[in-house]
């Protein structure tokens, strides 16, 4: 029991936040154990580092990012240039092989991964920012503001995202050909209610806390209280939602591109690469399918593990920290 206390003392202090000073004094008082004072950030980082899968995934994810964005600068062949090597199996000159048009799959996958990541990160950031502001306002003001705002958010959630993105993207693709940021815009417009719901639920409980009352007593304006006092205290869940939205967006974007409604030629995403390689396994060119598919899984899997690690780090109650 005492060992556990030592370990959990800073955790309690961190979760309680405002009562930290009080707790440190009490610990000092009975002198049973000493508490090294750590900032909340240090605690979160050290908890995250204990989650082995999350740390490994962070490294893998970083490598994929480097591969996607720095790789094309170093790799001699361009994704858009045909070579004379048609349907060549993976080798030294073409590590991932080539397709029936002689495109180098290594360059293709680099470009596709970059495009997929660009879309996923921008969708996640945009939808999280919108969702946070929206959810914070709804939760802070409660009452009819909350009801109207959240009913609207629910309304958007009744529409299946994938299907809806197909319908809308079909119209605009004619106008803004192969503009990935339009796709990102549509997906962000569909994903923000998820974040809004989570932030709202947190704000509803945080707004009753003493530190909010104190801020109000000091004459803080609503905007300042929401964005300076309440939202920073929801940062944990917001970051977790952000990472999981990245994973979700990768899945939806690649599925859309696979069906032919997301990123389109001449642009490339991992989804379009899988789509053009979908009969490759039985045709005898399995690399055309396996490499892009592998990168999708690698990206989503590593982000899911990072999200899991972050959740453990920010909120040890939800899934107990691994020893």
């Amino acid at each position: 029991m005492p060992e556990k206390n030592i370990d959990s003392a800073p955790d309690i202090a961190a979760t309680l936040g405002t009562e930290f000073g009080q707790y440190a004094r009490a610990a000092d008082g009975d002198r049973e154990f000493t508490v090294t004072v750590r900032t909340q950030r240090q605690i979160v980082v050290s908890r995250f580092l204990k989650h082995r899968a999350a740390v490994v995934s962070s490294v893998v994810f970083l490598l994929v990012v480097l591969f996607a964005f720095i790789g094309p600068l170093l790799w001699g062949q361009q994704y858009s240039i045909m070579t004379n090597d048609i349907e060549v199996a993976p080798s030294g000159t073409h590590p991932f092989g080539t397709d029936s048009n002689g495109y180098d799959l290594f360059a293709d996958v680099m470009h596709g991964a970059a495009r997929t990541l660009e879309i996923a990160v921008s969708v996640a950031v945009a939808s999280t920012v919108i969702g946070t502001i929206y959810g914070a306002i709804a939760g802070y003001y409660r009452g009819w503001v909350d009801t109207v705002m959240m009913r609207f958010a629910d309304l958007i959630l009744t529409i299946p995202a994938l299907v809806f993105a197909i319908i809308v993207s079909d119209k605009f693709s004619a106008n803004i050909a192969s503009a990935w940021y339009f796709l990102a815009f549509i997906l962000a417009a569909l994903f923000w209610p998820i974040c809004a719901r989570i932030v709202r639920a947190q704000v509803l409980s945080l707004r009753e806390k003493e530190f909010v009352e104190a801020a109000r007593a000091l004459g803080g304006r609503d905007g300042r209280i929401i964005f300076r006092h309440i939202v920073p205290n929801c940062m944990g869940s917001i970051i977790v939602v952000l990472t999981l939205t990245v994973a979700n967006t990768v899945l939806v974007e690649t599925a859309l591109s696979f069906l032919g409604f997301g990123v389109r030629l001449p642009d490339t995403s991992l989804g379009t690469l899988v789509s053009s390689g979908q009969t490759a396994i039985q045709d005898g060119f399995p690399w055309l399918f396996y490499f892009p598919a592998l990168f999708i899984i690698l990206i989503v899997l590593s982000i899911n593990f990072i999200g899991d690690g972050l959740r453990d780090a920010f909120d040890p109650q939800q899934t107990r920290v691994r020893a």
């Binding site: 309304l155 299946p160 899988v274 009969t279």
Partner: protein
């Protein structure tokens, strides 16, 4: 309970109304059924286009079109006019829905059984090797895109078929929801249908299994650490009895609502799965309508999809109230 049900039922009517309004406004303003006609080369006379616009009722302002469509749907059960005159939206919708529905229901059942079994096992043996293995597998399926998994299974099945019976009929069905010439006797028909269901069901159920088993594991863990379970053990009840009678029953409550909420979302996964296995269900209906710029079938599709979401949300609420009396009384 009856009052609760009626209250929730009434509350979902405005949601359904606004949902159809939102869907109509966005879909009707982004899909132009006349664009294939306009793009024809050589161009067709303006009069013909105008006649087609009249037939489809595209000449009125958007809100009036919505009203006409909604009243037609509610009062006369009329889903609107398709671009191809022989296309009956209502008939097509019900036949497609049946095909997809059996796939979705079967997948849910299969994945529920798997998820509960794995969730309970991993919770009981927390941090064991089994737990870590199941968690890793769960994360893998969570990160596996539906289409990648479907293509993999399909390709493997085709290779397997070729190696087992190079020239005969395929052993595992990889295409369509039934054979082109299905057997006529009852059992043959059932067997044919089930045979075609195998691969798509595996795909769809494993995709949703992953998150549900995680969910079940954490709710089971929470229950196992609760005081009443400790009390039940302290009373001298057997471990199995406590596990199934006291713990599992309560741990199933959160999952039941989660499943109800996810069911409608499975429709998106079904679109992908059906496309790869070339089924003629809701997915095909949707993709075909998109390709033809066919506005009203798309609207019908979305109305069904968003009604499903609303109905299942309602079901989740009611289920929660039935299973957990505290909700009902609050």
């Amino acid at each position: 309970m009856l009052a609760f049900t009626i209250r929730r039922l009434l509350a979902s009517i405005p949601v359904l109304f606004f949902s159809t309004l939102l869907v109509f406004l966005i879909v009707a303003s982004s899909i132009d059924p006349l664009s294939p006609l306009r793009a024809r080369n050589p161009p067709i006379p303006q009069k013909t286009i105008q006649a087609e616009a009249n037939r489809l009722g595209l000449n009125h302002p958007l809100l009036q079109r919505y009203w006409d469509w909604l009243t037609g749907l509610i009062l006369h059960g009329n889903w609107g006019t398709s671009v191809s005159p022989s296309y009956n939206i209502g008939q097509r919708l019900s036949s497609s829905f049946l095909v997809t529905f059996r796939l979705v229901i079967l997948s849910i059942l299969l994945s529920l059984i798997l998820a509960i079994a794995v969730g309970v096992l991993t919770a009981v043996r927390q941090y064991s090797r089994l737990d870590y293995a199941a968690t890793s597998v769960g994360f893998l399926f969570l990160s596996l895109p539906t289409f990648v998994f479907a293509i993999l299974l399909k390709s493997w099945a085709i290779q397997f078929n070729q190696s087992v019976r190079p020239n005969g009929p395929p052993l595992i069905a990889t295409l369509f929801e039934s054979s082109p010439n299905p057997p006529t006797d009852f059992f043959g028909k059932i067997g044919d249908t089930v045979g075609h269901l195998v691969l798509p069901t595996i795909v769809l159920s494993l995709v949703s299994y992953a998150s549900w088993s995680r969910f079940q594991r954490s709710s089971m863990l929470e229950v196992l650490n609760s005081d009443y379970v400790r009390l039940a053990r302290a009373k001298g009840l057997s471990r199995t009895r406590v596990l199934f009678r006291h713990a599992l029953r309560n741990a199933l409550i959160p999952l039941s609502t989660q499943v109800a909420l996810d069911t409608a979302g499975l429709l998106g996964g079904a679109v992908i799965t059906e496309t790869i296995f070339e089924w003629h269900g809701m997915g095909y209906m949707f993709i075909q309508a998109i390709g033809n710029y066919d506005l009203y079938p798309l609207l019908a599709w979305l109305v069904v999809a968003s009604s499903l979401v609303i109905v299942f949300n309602l079901l989740a609420d009611l289920l929660y109230a039935v299973l957990d009396p505290r909700i009902r009384l609050a």
